[in-house]
């Protein structure tokens, strides 16, 4: 019988009461008395030289408080990049300046040129129209190979070229070349991992609020990691020490990675508020979000897979161009390298794996982490080339994968990571059961009878989550530690506030984290609340991304709770006149082993705060503990996914008929929330596979700048819930964190795109169309073109 509370139970999400009844407190709900509003005048050209910005007429417009331009930020720091990559020749990456407002040049459509602060937003917009811009349009570069040609326009004039770095990783070239030379078969694919716009439901918002009374600044912002923003903005951009800077990320309506980064608008509102001694608010419009939120993906890759005569994988080699956009966003440089190259072994024991990545500047919006961040790109390449190899060799794609699975753990890959545990056969078996492989021929025949093509696609994936061991990522160039932290504050009557570094913006931490603490203490979950999102309240944790919250911050919370238990046992021992070593905690009662003497949780906590009868000579009063947790390894969730599609050969339209996932997330705390995460992740992956396409024309104009042209997945793009099964019953617990958890937030978005594309190609090939590949999104027009090509 399923548990009804604690670890493994599925209580309903307590935060949903406020989210679903309009009682949430989002950043745009925060209004500071007397606040002014900022409107950013953004470049409408992709590349241009700023000759003059004349704000004199605009400054006299009604309601205008002050107009800022790049000149106001000379001498102020630029937006920093959080990860330095060393290229294959040992040189540091190129790291151009990223000013808060454009200085000298504009480098992408949406680059902020001026910021107009006024009493109302409409007045600011009116004044923006009165600013006279003299910007000389320059040729733009959008295409990555073009950007690397000697005669390409330079995005940054102070750099020699548009190459940020040329990175190589994994097996050495000689060994790799030998493996390819000896191969019985080599399959090669050229693949585009399409650029995406994250599109969280809540656009970004920032409110800067300076208090002259104590020289303190508060920034309310839509962030996944308020402490990271405080550190980056305080230390690197504005020079405000931490004790004078508070960052609050209240309810946040979805992030998907794009709210990790430190953005110009946040720095601006904080800076401007200090300048004008008045709060400054910015709320992004959806149109602005398309041209100012960091985009995701945008890799172009050639991948080669070598196999021996027995179809064993012998080598993988990739050459990727990764688009950085016009500036380096906070973690942009780590995505195509350490978050991508390290996963190129996948679930397979390929002895040689070499990854080459050229990161390229272009006149486009900066690109950074988006749900999965590098791991979807790696999985897509590998799982597409394996499928194509199976087709070329005429072997079963599932059998080919099974034959090459890693089966012994721990396993050190040629790309530096050590998988601690896993069972890829188990998830594959489960997937085959869920999709009903045996019934597929009959389903295909039924589709064909209606003139449709039906395909079955499979995919296996592994990801590295729980980022990350700080000493390791420090060696790899990270400029931040990646531990997390939690403070467990037990109140006098036994209720608990847990202050966590993780940030919940849809994940359900407020429900899940109390389940863990309640289980450990044997008390009711309703006695426990989570506090997150405010640097003045929470310990210095690093926030939420990379499916890390439970694995890293949850581990810190477990450690802190263990400290609480240890201290509470001392107090209980005192109250029960027994040795603390004999005290047992069960169901919220401390008892002396082997006796009927016990004291309740609430009596112990009260004693801690009303220490009349208390061992003051041995321990301090109070019951509050903090722990920082730095993981010793990544976690490695893995799974096997399958999908069945129907393709209408007349129109090219793809319909997903059935989608199943078999994930191994290790231990699962709240199955309902895990299933929701996977459902949502798969929906996003289906969006990437079939619909979403952030597209620029050759002049750097954004073609998909609104929902009229950027296709988000909707409910009817997904299979019916009865045909959309997510399973997490295969569990190999993580070996190195106390909960044995691996993380589930990104799996769906990683595992689903190649599954869908493999299924479409299976359908087309079953219909006699010899199609090796179609780039995502696999739109009706592209499928039709492939059929008729």
């Amino acid at each position: 019988m399923p548990k009804d509370h604690g670890i493994g139970a599925s209580p309903k999400r307590r935060e949903d009461v406020r989210f679903l009844t309009g009682a949430g407190n989002y950043t745009d709900d925060i209004n500071v008395h007397g606040q002014a509003y900022v409107y950013f005048l953004r470049s409408d050209m992709a590349h241009g030289k700023i000759n003059k910005i004349d704000t004199s007429a605009a400054a006299d417009m009604p309601g205008v408080v002050r107009i800022f331009t790049g000149a106001d930020f000379e001498g102020v720091g630029g937006l920093p990049c959080g990860w330095e990559i060393t290229d294959k020749n040992g040189a540091a990456m190129k790291e151009p300046a990223h000013p808060v407002l454009a200085i000298g040049k504009v480098r992408h459509v949406g680059d902020p040129v001026a910021a107009i602060v006024a009493d109302s937003l409409e007045q600011a917009r009116d004044a923006a129209e009165a600013i006279e811009l003299d910007i000389e349009e320059l040729p733009a570069v959008v295409d990555m190979p073009r950007a690397l040609q000697a005669d390409s326009p330079l995005v940054h004039d102070d750099l020699a070229d548009n190459l940020c770095y040329d990175w190589q990783f994994g097996t050495d070239t000689e060994t790799t070349d030998k493996a390819f030379a000896a191969a019985a078969h080599v399959t090669t694919l050229e693949l585009v991992n399409n650029r995406l716009v994250a599109n969280p439901m809540e656009p970004r918002v920032a409110v800067g609020d300076y208090s002259r009374a104590n020289d303190e600044s508060t920034l309310y912002t839509t962030s996944q990691n308020p402490h990271v923003i405080r550190l980056l903005m305080g230390a690197f951009v504005l020079g405000i020490p931490e004790h004078k800077l508070r960052v609050v990320a209240p309810d946040v309506g979805g992030g998907f990675g794009t709210k990790i980064f430190h953005y110009a608008e946040e720095a601006f509102c904080t800076f401007a508020s200090r300048q004008i001694n008045r709060a400054v608010k910015w709320t992004s419009s959806r149109s602005e979000a398309f041209m100012s939120d960091a985009h995701g993906r945008d890799h172009v890759t050639k991948i080669e897979l070598a196999l021996d005569a027995d179809n064993n994988f012998t080598a993988v080699r990739t050459n990727t161009h990764a688009n950085m956009g016009a500036y380096l966003s906070t973690f942009s440089t780590s995505v195509p390298t350490w978050l991508h190259g390290t996963l190129m072994a996948g679930n397979y024991r390929t002895p040689a794996v070499q990854v080459n990545v050229k990161a390229v500047f272009t006149n486009t919006v900066p690109v950074d982490a988006y749900r999965g961040a590098g791991r979807p790109e790696a999985t897509f390449q590998l799982e597409r080339v394996i499928d194509q190899a199976a087709r070329e060799l005429g072997v079963d794609p599932i059998a080919l994968r099974r034959q090459n699975f890693i089966s012994e753990f721990p396993y050190e890959t040629p790309v530096a990571v050590v998988y601690d545990t896993g069972d890829y056969v188990a998830t594959m078996d489960k997937m085959e059961e869920l999709i009903d492989i045996a019934g597929f021929p009959a389903r295909r025949a039924e589709s064909e009878a209606r003139g449709m093509l039906r395909g079955l696609g499979v995919n296996c994936f592994i990801e590295a989550c729980g980022i990350a061991p700080s000493n390791l990522v420090g060696q790899l160039g990270a400029r931040a530690g990646l531990y997390d932290a939690a403070t467990v504050r037990v109140n006098a009557t036994g209720s608990i506030s847990v202050m966590v570094g993780a940030h919940s913006h849809g994940q359900g931490h407020e429900t899940v984290f109390p389940q863990v603490v309640a289980e450990m203490l044997g008390i009711d979950e309703s006695m426990i609340d989570i506090v997150h999102g405010d640097t003045s309240k929470i310990p210095f944790g690093m926030g939420t991304y990379g499916s890390r919250s439970l694995a890293v911050c949850g581990s810190a919370m477990v450690r802190a709770t263990e400290k609480i238990i240890n201290k509470a046992k001392k107090i209980a021992g005192h109250l029960l006149e027994a040795s603390e070593a004999d005290i047992e905690l069960k169901d919220g009662q401390f008892s002396v082993a082997g006796t009927d003497k016990s004291v309740a949780w609430g009596d112990v906590t009260l004693a801690a705060y009303v220490p009349h009868n208390y061992p003051l000579e041995d321990i301090e009063p109070g019951l509050e503990e903090t722990a920082f947790y730095d993981p010793s390894n990544f976690t490695y969730p893995a799974g096997a996914y399958a999908c069945e599609v129907e393709v209408d050969p007349e129109t090219g339209k793809v319909t997903i008929e059935k989608f199943v996932s078999a994930d191994d997330f290790g231990n699962v705390i709240n199955p309902m929330i895990v299933e929701g995460q996977v459902h949502g992740g798969i929906a996003q992956g289906i969006g990437q596979a079939l619909l979403e396409n952030c597209s620029y024309d050759e002049n750097g104009q954004l073609l998909s700048a609104s929902y009229m042209d950027y296709a988000m997945p909707r409910a009817d793009d997904l299979p019916h819930m009865s045909q959309y099964q997510v399973d997490h019953s295969c569990q190999t617990p993580c070996t190195h964190n106390p909960l044995g958890v691996k993380g589930c937030g990104e799996a769906g978005a990683i595992g689903s795109p190649p599954t869908v594309v493999n299924a479409v190609l299976d359908a087309l090939n079953s219909g006699g169309h010899n199609v090796a590949h179609i780039d995502m999104p696999v739109s009706p027009a592209r499928v039709w073109a492939a059929i008729n090509g």
Partner: protein
């Protein structure tokens, strides 16, 4: 948006009078105009709402047998109230946008805007409808004059639209994945004197009649009748969502499916 005045007259005469003001702009359901205003792409001095005019509301069958729909009638109303008279038209109305759009958007607004990817122009042209304004009656064949262009004069209001009810009709829409407007859609209507075929979403020149298909279907009203026909993609819209050649191909497929849907 920029500031503007707004009036909500209760008669066509008052609306016409209000539209005589400098920089006046008619506002019906606002499904195109309001977003345009919000983006500051239009700056009317006065908006004249047409939604308060009773004589422009509703669906009825005239003595002639024709279906008359008031210019200010929403898509949702047409979907509900025209279903028993002209089911294919009601079904088209029920498939426009989403519920919010259907409860605000109006037939007059859609036809006056003549978006090249809108549904109603295909129904009006495909049915040989009559566009009735405050000053005259305009045959659909004369009304649509290219993308976002119609025969309407400045200040002229569509008060109603009159549809001859066909023996059979069908509409097949292939949706653009993002906007879910018609990437290409075809309306087919069979009358005693022949079949009309109108295509929306495809052409650079807006809604048009596919006369070859009309001829073929007039002699044999079955999906197979258009099997051998094809259109050139040269004048078709080519964008992120499909080339002209793809749209030209879809015209054939959607025509076939519209005929099949007509039963």
């Amino acid at each position: 948006m920029y500031s503007f005045d707004m009036v909500r007259p209760t008669s066509v005469a008052d609306a016409v009078s209000a539209l005589g003001q400098e920089e006046a702009q008619a506002l019906s359901g606002g499904q195109t105009l309001i977003p345009t205003l919000k983006q500051r792409l239009a700056s009317p001095s006065v908006l004249v709402s047409l939604t308060g005019i009773a004589e422009m509301q509703g669906v009825c069958r005239e003595d002639s047998g024709d279906l008359a729909i008031g210019g200010g009638t929403t898509h949702a109303t047409v979907a509900a109230e025209a279903a028993s008279i002209y089911p294919a038209l009601a079904k088209l109305a029920g498939g426009i946008g989403d519920p919010a759009v259907r409860n605000r958007g109006t037939i007059g607004g859609s036809l006056a805007n003549n978006d090249p990817s809108a549904c109603y122009p295909a129904a009006a042209l495909g049915s040989g409808a009559t566009i009735v304004t405050n000053t005259r009656e305009i045959a659909a064949d004369d009304y649509f004059q290219g993308m976002f262009t119609t025969a309407l004069e400045e200040g002229e209001i569509i008060t109603s639209v009159r549809f001859p009810v066909p023996e059979a009709a069908g509409y097949a829409k292939f949706e653009q994945p993002a906007s879910r407007f018609a990437l290409t859609a075809v309306y087919v209507a069979k009358y005693a004197d022949g079949v009309r075929v109108a295509v929306t979403g495809a052409s650079e020149n807006g809604v048009f009649r596919w006369t070859e298909a009309e001829a073929a279907l007039s002699s044999n009203f079955s999906p197979d009748a258009v099997a051998g026909l094809s259109l050139s993609g040269d004048d078709m819209i080519s964008d992120l969502h499909g080339t002209g050649a793809y749209r030209a191909h879809l015209v054939g497929v959607m025509t076939k499916r519209a005929v099949a849907a007509a039963g």
